[in-house]
């Protein structure tokens, strides 16, 4: 703890020094998109801003989940040195907004028509007390199946439409000697898969009540028990060595044909692209069986801080560029996600991307666009992590029955609320 604080303070003072030396025609950005594809996607934005004469200054903190970046950001904000913007997820934006350190982009939002084009579910996180505080960059969706087409053809499988279909398909793969389900046994991956299982088992209404409204009755209902039973069923199809595996290694198993399918968010598509695979011919993307028509989302946002007046112009330029249709298209084609506004043409996207865009639009209009609890868009981090604990302990056997799992889930969520 003390060492972390010490490092944080040192970091903050270092950044403070850098901040004072900066020019006003500069955008200072804290993010953790440092890996190949993500960094390339971000270069598009850098290029757009350079055209308008704004220099880009990275404050990159490596690390996929952004924990390290959030720790650094906490120290920066505590020291009163805000970056122009920071990559942020879900409730973090609202936490910082409640702390009164976020800027106000409402004017820009009005001018650019964000109110109409950004899905209402996303605005829950980008608008705080009527003020726009963040610019959503993309929408990821987690209820996807990623299937190796060659393996699928070999075992003669077809698109599963219900959970039972899915189990039958997994059985076929097992019989053919392929690992049926590629899963990384880390708590967020297990919980991400469980999001889809709950939506499939209980339907959209149930998912919303249980995982967005945290309704006690739904959380301890028989439907939730059934969902845990279904999860247990799926876990019987993973290889014995799954525990602790990273998500991209699980994706690689599908790419190589060692495994049939992975249940993962659409960032997995980036891995397929990196391996030069095309949707439709090399791999297939289906919605998790029984969840077609609904979208469980998470989204990357650029949180905009309350910077001094001489830096506000740069911030507005950044926000405008972020939500411009051209950038939304170019960025999300590379990143594997779909645009955060529903009026972006889908011409440049591949088949999976086109389906993702259409699904998002339909879900937004039909009211079936729900935040992912595992990805921190269903409830605040304390609750989301308590949920991940319970799911992971259930998968790895510390919690032995679905009865016990439901009791623990209610207890853990109540405790964290």
């Amino acid at each position: 703890m003390l060492r972390k604080l010490l490092i944080g303070t040192a970091l903050a003072s270092g950044l403070a020094f850098a901040a004072h030396a900066e020019d006003v025609k500069e955008v200072q950005m804290l993010h953790w998109w440092t890996s190949g594809g993500e960094a390339a996607a971000l270069n598009v934005l850098k290029g757009d801003l350079a055209k308008e004469g704004y220099a880009w200054k990275d404050v990159p903190v490596a690390g996929g989940g952004g924990d390290a970046a959030m720790t650094a950001l906490k120290a920066m904000v505590a020291a009163g040195n805000y970056p122009t913007a920071s990559q942020m997820l879900g409730y973090t934006v609202l936490d910082y907004a409640a702390a009164g350190v976020m800027g106000d982009l409402t004017e820009t939002a009005k001018k650019e028509g964000w109110d109409k084009s950004v899905p209402a579910a996303l605005q829950k996180f980008s608008v705080y007390e009527g003020k726009w505080v963040a610019a959503p960059v993309n929408v990821h969706s987690v209820n996807w199946l990623w299937i190796n087409k060659a393996v699928m053809d070999k075992i003669g499988g077809t698109e599963p439409k219900t959970f039972d279909d899915f189990v039958a398909l997994l059985d076929k793969a097992k019989a053919a000697g392929v690992i049926p389900l590629a899963l990384g046994g880390q708590n967020w991956q297990e919980a991400t898969m469980f999001d889809s299982v709950v939506l499939s088992t209980g339907g959209p209404e149930f998912y919303k009540k249980a995982f967005n409204d945290l309704d006690d009755a739904s959380l301890k209902s028989d439907t939730m028990k059934k969902s845990f039973d279904n999860l247990a069923k799926l876990v019987t199809y993973v290889d014995p060595n799954f525990s602790g595996r990273d998500w991209n290694l699980a994706t690689a198993m599908v790419i190589k044909g060692d495994a049939l399918v992975q249940v993962m968010g659409d960032w997995a598509k980036g891995e397929f692209h990196a391996a030069n695979k095309t949707p439709g011919t090399d791999f297939l993307c289906y919605r998790f069986p029984g969840t077609d028509g609904s979208v469980i989302y998470n989204s990357d946002m650029f949180g905009m801080f309350n910077v001094p007046d001489d830096r506000k112009a740069a911030q507005v330029a950044l926000a405008t560029a972020t939500l411009s249709k051209s950038f939304q298209s170019a960025f999300n084609v590379v990143k594997g996600s779909v645009p955060a506004r529903t009026d972006v043409p889908d011409t440049d996207f591949d088949a999976c991307g086109k389906k993702g865009i259409a699904d998002l639009k339909a879900a937004n209009e039909g009211g079936t666009l729900f935040g992912s609890l595992a990805q921190g868009y269903g409830a605040p981090p304390a609750v989301a992590n308590a949920y991940k604990d319970v799911v992971s302990k259930f998968v790895h056997g510390q919690i032995k029955t679905s009865d016990e799992a439901v009791t623990e889930l209610v207890k853990a969520i109540d405790d964290a609320k």
Binding site: M1, L2, R3, K4, L5, L6, T9, D67, M70, T71, K74, A78, T92, D95, Y96, A99, G185, Q186, N187, P240, N241, F242, S243, G244, P380, P381, A382, N385, A386, D389, S392, K393, V395, H396, G397, Q398, I399, K400, E404, E408, D415, A416
Partner: protein, 318 residues
């Protein structure tokens, strides 16, 4: 020593001149001036932050520190979790793991370190080559140790896979994937890293033992076992103290080893209290609970180390 020297100088008449007195006063103050910055930094960044953490543990701090005292709810929650054994709460897992890891890590490192040191002390050839081989793991960071052992212990990549390829297909070693055994893999990696260093400490101790005592014992007819049991090991007592303190603090701060080796283990089964503290403070935005767990860690260390130090250091003047 220096104060004695300067006070003697002051007595001599030629140093009564003002210029020299300024100089000598400066000399007097110099150690204090030099030490002041590090002293101030230690006061603020160690003891100041300890107090700050204690204060935060009695607030309702979530994402950001809050300074409104709200009582001991964080401690009550931790206390409740301490008895949540089935299914085990994360806190229960963390403290039982700390017990298992702390005990085994310190005990095995001491035993293995002493054993290796005694073997190396037999005036064998090639000692100069062997010693650094054992010592070098200490030069690696916990992260490197963790990643290397993660690969080595992974049933699909490392030891098990290799032995299967060599034909021993019944070999089975999946502790790192097993919720009940994963903490022991942390012990293995930790012991591998630190036992060489402990060996070096014991070796230095052994070299410091007067050869005359050994000879006297041998003349009196002591067997080698008796020699070590009755004479050498008791003489190494101060080394045991130093080694214990080094190992105890390494054990407490093994956060990075757990993360690199197991990423928390299946269902969080490899957590140590330091992992718990980081998770709750920075990932779950429950700073008060995180601070409370840090305070409990500190109290535990104090409760173990202080009596031990007291008993060891008090006997010295005897």
């Amino acid at each position: 020593m220096s104060t004695v020297a300067t006070s003697q100088i002051k007595l001599t008449p030629e140093h009564a001149r003002p210029r020299a007195s300024v100089r000598s006063r400066l000399q007097d103050a110099l150690p204090k001036i030099v030490l002041a910055p590090s002293f101030a930094i230690t006061i603020v960044f160690v003891y100041g932050f300890i107090l700050w953490t204690i204060y935060l543990s009695f607030t309702n701090s979530k994402t950001f520190p809050s300074y409104v005292l709200t009582g001991s709810r964080a401690y009550q929650r931790l206390w409740g979790w301490t008895f949540d054994t089935d299914p085990p709460s994360s806190w229960y897992t963390s403290i039982t793991n700390m017990g298992i890891f702390g005990f085994l890590y310190i005990a095995i490192c001491l035993a293995l370190g002493l054993f290796l040191a005694i073997l190396l002390d037999q005036k064998i050839r090639g000692e100069g080559v062997l010693r650094p081989i054992y010592l070098y793991p200490m030069a690696l960071s916990f992260i490197v140790t963790g990643v290397a052992w993660k690969w080595f212990l992974d049933p699909g990549l490392g030891l098990e896979q290799t032995l299967h390829q060599w034909g021993w297909t019944s070999f089975h070693f999946d502790w790192i994937k097993n919720k009940d055994f994963v903490i022991y893999t942390v012990v293995i990696a930790g012991v591998w890293q630190a036992s060489g260093f402990i060996m070096a400490m014991f070796l230095a101790g052994l070299r410091g033992i007067d050869g005359e005592i050994m000879k006297a014992a041998q003349i009196d007819g002591a067997t080698t076992f008796q020699l070590y049991r009755r004479i050498v090991i008791p003489l190494l007592r101060p080394i045991f103290l130093s080694a214990f303190i080094v190992l105890a603090h390494l054990a407490i701060k093994s956060y990075d080893l757990v993360v690199a080796l197991t990423s928390g283990g299946p269902g969080g089964s490899a957590w140590l209290p330091s992992n718990f503290m980081y998770e709750y403070t920075f990932k779950r935005n429950e700073m008060a609970v995180g601070s409370a767990s840090a305070v409990i860690m500190l109290m535990t260390i104090v409760a173990i180390i202080v009596p031990y130090l007291y008993s060891e250091l008090r006997e010295k003047p005897r």
